[in-house]
């Protein structure tokens, strides 16, 4: 069997934006806090008419701008979301209908937040391998605008809407090495949606990321027999600029290798990593990319993505 991995990625970030500079007075913040702490100048906002499945469909349309893909070849479709169109059915089934995919295509959702993309890669690639599948679609779409209280400073300035789709196939540009996973469930209530509204304990989330992610990265490198110097790019979940800076400081990383990209659209939950990967996988200088997602649960997962060449 040929090796399965990431063939290509496309994303959809809605055009509408809300500027955080326009909300400085309302929330009692200054430009330094916007630029250097949360690191989000503006958040992306979907239309009220767009459902989660619609974001996925647009991401898929953007994928088709990049390559030729015959729908009848798609054997599995997975959507990572905790803000589905409806509780029943699973959003992947709705996306399946909107894309008019064959009845032989397997569909399921994965309920995870910011760690979802890395988990999703592992789950879907394993599923494809077990079943001998050759092409699969992994979507991320978690529009938090559905659950954010616009008056809540801790979340309204941070989260943006987006969706991505990753084509997994036997013609990969990157393949994952070993993964790590973790759950710190005693803090699960630090990021919680109740009665339709999101609540986040910023201090607890910061502490979680600062305490758990640096040792996880060290562990990931060790089990893959790599060092920090071997990594061309570090693509962490874009929680906030301060969280990324703190992780980088604790790991003593070369900040030139740590990608920060959320300033113009916000924290897009499970879409944050693939939005960046879409750009980074095209750079031939990037041969080994570390990805690490962390958040809701509180959970985390990390892996290394290695570039495939014609000979590998």
């Amino acid at each position: 069997m040929n090796m399965l991995g990431i063939e290509n990625i496309a994303s959809y970030i809605p055009e509408a934006r809300i500027s955080n500079f326009d909300r400085q007075e309302t929330f009692g913040i200054d430009a330094k806090f916007i630029e250097q702490r949360i690191g989000v100048r503006q958040i992306a906002l979907k239309s009220n008419l767009e459902e989660t499945s619609d974001l996925c469909v647009t991401a898929f349309s953007n994928l088709l701008q990049k390559l030729v893909l015959h729908k009848e070849e798609i054997e599995v479709l997975v959507v990572i979301t905790q803000n589905p169109d409806t509780n029943i059915p699973h959003t992947s089934a709705i996306v399946h209908k909107k894309l008019d995919l064959p009845e032989t295509c397997a569909c399921f959702d994965i309920s995870l937040g910011c760690s979802g993309y890395v988990y999703g890669l592992s789950v879907v690639l394993s599923f494809m391998s077990t079943n001998g599948f050759k092409k699969g679609l992994l979507f991320t779409a978690d529009p938090y605008s559905k659950i954010i209280d616009p008056s809540d400073k801790g979340t309204a300035l941070l989260f943006g809407d987006a969706a991505t789709v990753t084509l997994l196939s036997e013609q990969p540009s990157f393949t994952p090495l070993k993964f790590t996973y973790g759950t710190s469930s005693k803090e699960y209530s630090s990021l919680l949606c109740q009665q339709g509204k999101l609540f986040m304990n910023g201090r607890e989330i910061f502490n979680f990321a600062a305490k758990h992610i640096p040792p996880d990265v060290t562990h990931l490198l060790r089990i893959n027999q790599k060092t920090v110097q071997d990594i061309d790019k570090f693509v962490f979940h874009q929680g906030s600029k301060y969280i990324l800076d703190t992780i980088s400081t604790r790991l003593k990383l070369d900040t030139q290798k740590v990608v920060f990209d959320m300033a113009e659209y916000g924290n897009t939950v499970s879409s944050s990593i693939p939005i960046i990967l879409e750009k980074e996988i095209t750079g031939l200088e990037n041969r080994l990319i570390l990805i690490s997602g962390f958040g809701v649960g509180l959970s985390w997962s990390s892996t290394l993505l290695e570039r495939r060449t014609l000979c590998s």
Binding site: F33, R37, N201, G202, R203, E204, F206, N207, A210, K211, S240, Y242, D245, T246, T249
Partner: protein, 81 residues
């Protein structure tokens, strides 16, 4: 073990919250947010001290801490207990 002014300043420098030249000028009785340590940096400072001293500060007690002196007194009372 007693937490001192120097320990807090060292934590500020190690966590890259302020450069050494500014951290060494921190005044013990003045609110930290008036000396360039905003809310997120304050959480970072507390985390570093929590890890070094092996204690956890509950959220409802964090709100009582504003100055370096508040922090030193809090940690020393917890470590003495």
């Amino acid at each position: 073990m007693q937490l001192t002014n120097s320990d807090v300043i060292k934590a500020v420098i190690d966590a890259e919250i302020l450069p050494e030249s500014e951290a060494s000028l921190l005044k013990e009785g003045v609110k930290l947010d008036e000396q360039g340590v905003d809310s997120l940096a304050f959480y970072n400072l507390l985390l570093v001290l929590e890890e070094r001293c092996g204690i956890h500060i509950p959220d409802n007690e964090v709100n009582q801490l504003h100055t370096m002196k508040d922090i030193i007194d809090y940690f020393n009372s917890k470590m003495a207990g």
